[in-house]
């Protein structure tokens, strides 16, 4: 059992998402929020690109020596008084957490936000064992009430409007008779804070993820804005960190470099409100802190990635910038991707973790515009990785079983015939460009196209500038020849 997935229904999911007015309203906030904030934070730090280069070096060095850093990390955790549990797959990780819960006699579990626990389907497993598990990140709490998956790496409830949140609270929260239902966001938050505060105080075990693991000190770095990760660590008797093996970095200095990139890339903050270095249980005499500390290290397909052509994805620090800047994610949201990880990173990770069968539509759903790579703090070449999945998917497809309609195949054949006749191609393209330019009119785009009503239902097609590229190139070359004595490159020839 892993988290349930509907990746095979991607096309239907995506089609439904673009026609969902409530979702479209929620997604409309992405541009003004995350994108603008990241741009501001980046502009305020001249060292940003140098930090990205340093981050690539840190992650590559750590991955090259992953076995040694994991061993060193474990030794430090043990020296600090904690324990490390090594888990090859989701089942082993769930079993390890269950063993710790059983040994601690835990009944009430609170959780900080963790994508890895979503990935391994931890909550359902613990609930099946009769344990109470409560998410405490506000977004995760909301989607837990609604029995949904997170739709974003750092903003799991970004697909919801305040009205939907209010409805979920009304369904689930006990209120005094006659008490009004909160509607404004700050009233909704106040109610959630009250409810969750009680749960925090009653909990006997806390589970969090980790953004980084530091080999030097055995610390798990936990980054949040709410402080829920810290309460999950500090209040219960036992703290479990569940995290992927790729999170380990050598030193506190290396973590500092990555931290300078993480919040800026994610939310545009200089640093998130809470950055916590959790290194073992409370020491003798400490005024508070957990009595027991465990780290559950999860492989679940990561070592396979390490040795293959998708290794670069292991540099990902889960900031969510690629989602925030992806036109496809912006149009369909996270749930359409059908599993835990969405957006460009999800389209690369999901086939790797679940298998390409059933998830081949994810890497196909990209215009390869490259914005994801342009904003990635660790320079993961996402478009190239998507292309690699497409190649694999194509190689695995039986041409006879192609899902292309006869009309589509005839169209490809016609295009192929034309493409082998460059002169004719150029003339027709120039004609088409002029025609479409006229169709676009003064607005410069077309809201409707003949034979492509499905395509233009959810978006507009920008109209061409009026001439084809080859015609413009030839014209430009003639102008340059006239202006300069040096010969211009011949039209149609590329370096």
């Amino acid at each position: 059992m892993s988290a349930p997935n509907t990746t095979a229904d991607f096309r239907a999911n995506a089609a439904k998402a673009v026609r969902d007015p409530v979702l479209q309203k929620a997604l409309g906030n992405l541009r003004s929020g995350f994108q603008a904030n990241r741009a501001r934070a980046r502009a305020a730090l001249p060292e940003f690109d140098a930090l990205r280069d340093a981050a690539v070096e840190i992650k590559e060095h750590s991955l090259d020596h992953l076995d040694l850093y994991l061993e060193r990390f474990e030794a430090q955790v043990i020296a600090n008084g904690g324990q490390v549990h090594w888990c090859r797959d989701a089942a082993e990780a769930r079993a390890a957490v269950r063993r710790i819960c059983d040994a601690a006699g835990a009944r009430n579990i609170i959780k900080g936000k963790s994508m890895v626990t979503e990935e391994i389907g931890l909550n359902d497993d613990l609930a099946a064992a009769g344990l109470k598990v409560l998410e405490t990140d506000l977004g995760e709490y909301i989607i837990q009430l609604r029995d949904e998956m997170p739709s974003h790496l750092i903003a799991p409830a970004v697909h919801l409007t305040r009205e939907q949140v209010a409805d979920s609270f009304t369904e689930n929260h006990d209120r005094a008779a006659g008490a009004p239902a909160p509607e404004a966001p700050d009233d909704l938050l106040a109610e959630a804070r009250r409810v969750l505060r009680r749960e925090f105080l009653d909990a006997d075990l806390g589970i969090t993820g980790a953004n980084f693991l530091i080999a030097e000190t055995g610390a798990a770095v936990i980054v949040t804005n709410e402080g829920n990760g810290d309460l999950s660590r500090l209040l219960p008797d036992t703290h479990i960190v569940v995290t992927g093996i790729e999170k380990v970095v050598p030193t506190q200095e290396d973590a500092a470099t990555l931290l300078r990139l993480l919040a800026r890339s994610a939310s545009g903050q200089e640093l998130s409100a809470y950055t916590t270095f959790a290194a073992g249980p409370a020491r003798p005499g400490d005024a508070d802190g957990p009595a027991a500390f465990h780290v559950v290290l999860v492989d679940n397909g990561r070592s396979r990635l390490l040795g293959g052509e998708f290794r670069d994805i292991l540099r990902c620090i889960r900031c969510g910038a690629c989602l925030n800047h992806c036109p496809v994610y912006g149009a369909i949201g996270g749930h359409a991707y059908g599993w835990v990880y969405s957006g460009p990173i999800g389209a690369v990770l999901t086939p790797a973790l679940l298998g390409l069968e059933g998830s081949a539509d994810l890497p196909a759903a990209s215009s390869l515009c490259g914005r994801c790579e342009a904003v990635c703090p660790t320079r993961v070449p996402l478009p190239e990785l998507l292309r690699r999945w497409r190649r694999r998917s194509f190689a695995a497809t039986d041409p006879a079983a192609s899902d292309k309609s006869p009309a589509a195949r005839r169209a490809y054949a016609a295009w192929g015939w034309l493409a082998r006749r460059p002169r004719l191609y150029g003339v027709l393209l120039d004609l088409a460009a002029r025609g479409l330019h006229r169709l676009g009119g003064r607005r410069g785009y077309m809201a409707r196209l003949p034979f492509a009503g499905g395509w233009t239902a959810a978006r507009d097609l920008p109209a061409p500038e009026g001439r084809g590229f080859q015609a413009l190139w030839a014209k430009d070359a003639r102008a340059r020849t006239a202006a300069k004595p040096t010969p211009a490159p011949e039209p149609g020839k590329r370096p």
């Binding site: 906030n29 060292e47 930090l51 340093a54 981050a55 020596h65 992953l66 076995d67 040694l68 994991l70 430090q76 324990q83 549990h85 090594w86 506000l138 977004g139 903003a155 409830a157 919801l160 305040r162 966001p185 700050d186 909704l188 938050l189 804070r193 505060r197 105080l201 030097e216 804005n225 709410e226 402080g227 810290d230 309460l231 660590r233 500090l234 093996i245 050598p250 030193t251 200095e253 290396d254 500092a256 470099t257 200089e270 640093l271 409100a273 950055t275 916590t276 270095f277 959790a278 290194a279 020491r283 400490d286 005024a287 508070d288 802190g289 492989d299 070592s303 396979r304 390490l306 040795g307």
Partner: protein
Amino acid sequence: MTATENPGRAALLADVRRALGRAGASETHHAAVAARLETRLRGPIPARTALPWDGLVDLFVTMSEQVGVEVRRLAKLDEVPGVFAARLAALEVGGGQVMAPHPLLRGLPWPGNDAPRAGPARGDDRAALTLAAGAVAETGTLIFVSGPEHPSNLAFLPELQIVVLRGGDLCATYEDFWDRRREAGAPTPATVNMITGASRTGDIEQIILLGAHGPKRVEILLVDDAPQAS
């Protein structure tokens, strides 16, 4: 840790080594890791932190204000009890008050021995007085270190946190803070909290709201004359 509790350890490490194309780690690999841990190379350090002392204080104040944290500068530590009481009154925060059981705070001239309770916070405490172990000017970040004299939960349960920061504990960067700890020979504490602003969430329609779980408000009392932490 016995093998039965960790059945996956050897197999997982073998999977990692297979992926790296080697059966074990060579001398070269061990040496590279040892050197990295020993030299603790710094990454690019933001040039905005290359400032003399006064400049760092100004930067710290600017960055703190950017995340909604007010900084008050006090000439003497002895002023803390009076300012603490005045801030509670001005913000109309009643109810439980708690402070870190640190000798520096316990030893302050509390009028009529009316000091806040010293110890970890309880779920219904309204205000906490804490003592920062350090601060970072680069991002207006406060640092707290767990120990017998400083419960970590003071920074997370009450709605109002008032932080005493000694001027000598202000660092330019995170790296400077770690170096100071190492130079002092301090062991790895259970918990180090770097805190930049109040508790916040954007999980409802990306609207930023304060006081998600922790404090709605954080204020700093920057004491100019206080000695450095030992």
